[in-house]
Amino acid sequence: MSTTEPLDGRAETLAEPWDDLEVRPLRAQGPRVVTAIVPKGSIAGSSLTAVAAIMTFLAALTAGAVMMVIGAASDWRSDVGREVTIQVRPVAGRDLDADVRKAVEIARAAPGITDVRAFTKEESARLVQPWLGSGLNLDELPIPRMIVVKLWSGPPPDFAALGKTLSEQVPGASLDDHRRWIDRMRDMAGAAAAAGLAILALVLAVTVLSVTFATRGAMATNRPIIEVLHYVGATDGFVASQFQRHFLILGFKGGAIGGGAAIILFGVLQAMNAWLTGTAGGDEFEALFGSISIGMSGYLAILGLIVLMALVTAWASRYTVRRTLDSID
C-alpha cells in the first residue's frame, strides 16, 4: 500500500497499482524549466521567419525607392518651377549691355518676381566654355546673355504679358518660362510617383498574403497541440494567446532581420553618396536621382513594416487557432 494521496481531500489511502515494480526514490525536486506550450525552433517556424525576413526586406527596399522617387520628383518640380530665364541675343547695331539692362528693368517691374540676375559676359562665356574651350576672344563671338529671374512661391506671374513687353522693347530678348519642360516634368514625376505607390501597394499586399499563408502553414503542424489544450480545459482565449505570443515573436524576428538589412543597405548607400558628393559622377547622379537618402520618414516606414510583420503573423495565428477550435467543437 502507498500512503500517497494524489486525490487528497476525497481520497482514502490508495492502493499502489505498480507496487510490485521497483520504485527508486525520486531525486530532490528543484524548480523545473517549463517548456513553452508552443514548441520553439520548428522547421515550419524557421521557414516563416525566413519568409517574413525576405518579404520585409523587399517591401522596405520598395518603400525606400518609392520615397526617393517621390522626393526627387518634387525637388525637380519645385527647383525648375521657381525660375524663368530671359535670353538676350546680340542684334547687329544694338548695344547688348544696354539691352540686358533694359530687360532686367522690365523683369524687375513685373509682379511676382523676387530676384533678377543677369549673367555677366564672363559668366556667359564660362557657360559655353565646355563646348568652345578656353582662351578664345569672346568679344568676337555673338554669345547670348542669360538673365535668371527668380519667382515668388505664390501664383505664377503673367508670363505672356512679360514676354510680349520684352520682345517689344528689347528686340533680341525672349522669355523661356520652361512651361513645356515643367509640364512634362510634372507629368513624368506624377506618373513615377503613382507607379511607385502602386508597386508599393502590390508589394505590401503580397507581403501580407505570403506571411499570412506561411503562418497558416506553420500553424498546421500545431493542430494536435490546439486539440490537447482544448481537451484539458483551456479556454479559447488561452489557446489563442499562447500561439499569438509565439507567432508575434517569430514575425517580429523575421521583420527585424529583413528591415534591419534594408536599413543597413540604405545607410551604406547614403554614406557612399556623401563620400561621392563633389566628384563629377556623384554630382551628375545626385542631379538626376536626388540624394540617396530615405530620410527619417523612410526609416520610420521600415520600422512600421517590422511591426506590421509581427502583427500579421500574430493575427493570422490567432485566426487559425479560432478556426481550428471552431472545427473541434
Binding site: 500517497t4 494524489p6 486525490l7 497499482p17 523545473r32 517549463v34 494536435p224 483551456a234 479556454t235 467543437d329
Partner: protein, 219 residues
C-alpha cells in the same frame, strides 16, 4: 452529474447514429460503455465531454443545460471532467511531467504550486522514473499511464476513458483497470468505453451497451 434526455446525434444529412439516449451518470459511479466497433461509443463520449453537440435532446451536466453554455463556460465545465484517449494525445515536445501538469498550467497555476502533486501522482502511476522522458521514448503502457495521470491531475469529478486497454497487452490492461478502480474508490465517477469483454468480466460494474444506435443499461 450527467443527464441525457432523448438525445440524438447525426453527422451531416445522414441518418441518426445515436437515437433517443436517456440515461444518467451518477457521482461516484463506475460504468463500462460498450458495443461493437462503430456503434458510436466515441461519439457518445465526445458528447459527455462537451466536444460534440447533440442534434436533438437535452444534456444536463453538473446541473447546467449544456446547450445554453458559452464557449468559456464549456471550457470551465470541461475542467471537471478528465478524458483519456485511445491514442493518448501526449505532446511530444513536453516531458511526462509537463504533459501531466498541463491541465493545471492552463488554469494559470505556477510550477511551484503543483510540483509536489504532479511528482506524487507520477510515482503513484509508476512513472516516477520516467518523469523527464519525452513521449516518443515511452512504451505504450507508460504513455497510457501518463495520459491517465494527465486526466486526473486536476481532480475531475468524472473520468472518461476511450478504449484505455486497446493498445496494451492483457496483463497491462489488468493493471490499468486496477488504476481506474483505485481512482473510483477515491471518489471519481468513471466511464470506460471498451469492447474488451475480458476486462469487463474482471470487474462487476454497470454496463451501458450501445446497439444499433440505442443504449441499453444493465445495472
Amino acid at each position: 452529474m450527467i443527464l441525457f434526455e432523448n438525445v440524438g446525434l447525426r453527422y451531416g444529412l445522414g441518418s441518426e447514429i445515436l437515437r433517443d439516449l436517456s440515461f444518467r451518470i451518477d457521482s461516484h459511479s463506475f460504468q463500462f460503455l460498450t458495443g461493437p466497433s462503430g456503434a458510436g461509443k466515441t461519439s457518445l463520449l465526445r458528447m459527455m465531454f462537451l466536444s460534440q453537440r447533440p442534434t436533438r435532446g437535452l444534456i444536463t451536466m453538473f446541473d447546467e443545460d449544456t446547450a445554453t453554455l458559452s464557449k468559456d463556460a464549456r471550457a470551465t465545465l470541461r475542467r471537471r471532467i478528465g478524458i483519456v484517449f485511445q491514442d493518448f494525445r501526449l505532446l511530444d515536445h513536453m516531458t511526462t511531467y509537463e504533459n501531466v501538469s498541463l491541465p493545471l498550467r492552463v488554469i494559470g497555476k505556477e510550477e511551484a504550486e503543483y510540483r509536489t502533486e504532479v511528482v506524487e501522482l507520477l510515482q503513484w502511476v509508476g512513472l516516477g522514473e520516467r518523469i523527464d522522458a519525452l513521449p516518443p521514448i515511452l512504451s505504450g503502457g507508460e504513455k497510457q499511464r501518463a495520459a491517465i495521470a494527465r486526466a486526473v491531475i486536476a481532480r475531475p469529478q468524472l473520468l472518461l476513458a476511450d478504449e484505455p486497454t486497446g493498445n496494451v497487452d492483457p496483463n497491462l490492461g489488468q493493471r490499468l483497470l486496477r488504476l481506474f478502480i483505485e481512482l473510483h474508490k477515491s471518489g471519481t465517477a468513471i466511464v470506460i468505453a471498451t469492447h474488451d469483454i475480458a476486462l469487463m468480466d474482471d470487474y462487476d460494474a454497470r454496463r451501458l451497451v450501445l446497439h444499433e444506435g440505442r443504449l441499453h443499461v444493465y445495472d
